[in-house]
Amino acid sequence: MSPNLTLPENATGHPLRRRLMAAAGVLLLMGTYTALVLTQPAGLIDGLGQGVALATFAAYLAAAILLLAAVLPELPVATLTLIPVALALNIVLGQFVGSVMIPLYLDSLGTVLVGFLAGRRAGAATGVLGTLIWSLFNPTVLPFAAGAALVGFLAGTAARFGALRRPYLAPVAGLVAGVLVGVLSAPVAAFVFGGTSGVGTGALVAAFRSMGDSLLGAVTKQALISDPGDKAIVFLLAALLIYALPGRLTAGFAFVRRYRVLGRRGSR
């Protein structure tokens, strides 16, 4: 059936070009990450450091935009209307949680919800778009777009392979996602900003540095402490919210029906 109800179904653009763009995005991301981990440039402000900061910023952002351009034209209308809600939830709930003294972010709840309901491509697109729009209010999040895309992608992957069929599987999937996201985002924090954006996380990095770790090593260890817990809670919260949704609403998403994301819960 055509994605819209009034126009005949047309082939949406060039599938091969979109696949090539997605592949280029992934390659750019992995290439940059590998180069940074292997070379671990020492100086941050000595000429080489500025170049590394700009190249990391540009490469991570370009990879995220390539992934978005590859995915966006494929998304059905039900997913497109869900994404703005998810982005607004990320920002509104992120700000509410950030306003109380709890060391959690919960700023990817909307992204994970979209990943669970609409699949990994929609989740990745939501992550990138959310970062681009949030950067209007906080420009420092811009180079973390690729990390946000990975959160959505992993949420969709986890849902596809049954993480929502049992409530205890969702936080386990979140833990794994948190490890991967933390590892991917650490070079941006280290080489673009020279650390982290919060005092609490900065204190952890400083502690690891004083024990003799390199900057990238210290930031990666800090990310491995902060991110898995946060993502485990976000995945669990998103799963509980989806369980609370009416069945006719969740059944409206082709991804949920096709992969039996909710298992027996979906057939109630």
Partner: protein, 252 residues
């Protein structure tokens, strides 16, 4: 009444990107300070100086604190030790590194926030729509920007309604958790229901439309601005290269 720049949004964004890229590459404190001062003057012109300062301070204060802790307080490489006690080792080189990183972050934050304050959001949405980007992108930007204040207002209304019906949250982590649940569950469920309803209406009206469509809002643009955008885009790449090439040659 705040003013917005009578420029195409992409012109403002391209100029800001060129300035941030070149300033970051240069890594000179006086250039960063000049850019920050220029941004502040533009914000004064736009009658948004106080808002810019408040927003920038909220983002920069924790970032500077973190950079000071990481580089200024536990520097292991610097030779000019100013103070040392246990794991703390404050050096002149570490403080200088923290200050330069702080200035680099400040230029990104202040220039980025200034763009947000100078650009009319409706112009931005229209510019995205009129550009070669997929039509879905314009809808997503417009829908998110309009949903944000509505959801924030709904969240406050839900909090007030919960308080009126006597749903006390309590203190401590359990109180926090209860407060999150009382607010987020009705907020998320109602927002998802709205989205599901909206998708049927949009699909029935032929969204996303393929092919050209008429926009009633025009975005201020001119041949001069288009030229300026091309120059700024070239500067994003060539500016840092021109600044950094001599240093790289010395290092090689």
């Amino acid at each position: 009444m705040p003013r917005t720049a009578p420029l195409h949004p992409f012109t403002v964004l391209a100029l800001a990107a060129a300035v941030v890229a070149t300033t970051t590459a240069a890594g000179r404190w006086w250039l960063s300070c000049t850019v920050l001062l220029g941004c502040l003057l533009l914000a004064v012109w736009a009658r948004r100086a106080r808002r810019l300062a408040g927003l920038a301070a909220a983002i920069l204060a924790p970032a500077w604190g973190s950079q000071l802790l990481i580089h200024g307080m536990v520097d292991t490489a610097g030779s000019q030790v100013l103070a040392a006690a246990g794991p703390l080792r404050i050096t002149a080189e570490g403080l200088r590194l923290a200050a330069e990183l702080g200035l680099r972050t400040a230029v990104l934050v202040v220039a980025g926030l200034l763009c947000t304050l100078l650009i009319d959001r409706h112009d931005l949405v229209a510019a995205v729509d009129l550009s070669g980007a997929p039509p879905q992108l314009g809808y997503l930007v417009a829908a998110t920007l309009s949903l944000l204040p509505r959801l924030a207002q709904r969240q406050r209304a839900i909090g007030e309604a919960q308080a009126l019906r006597g749903a006390a949250a309590g203190a401590g982590p359990l109180g926090w958790w209860r407060r999150v649940r009382l607010r987020s569950v009705p907020l998320v469920l109602s927002a998802l229901q709205d989205a599901a309803d909206r998708s049927t209406h949009l699909a029935a009206r032929g969204f996303p439309a393929a092919g050209p469509h008429t926009r009633l809002r025009s975005v201020p643009d001119s041949a001069g601005q288009r030229r300026l955008r091309r120059i700024a885009m070239a500067c994003i790449v060539l500016g840092p290269l021109a600044v950094l090439a001599p240093t790289w040659m010395e290092l090689a």
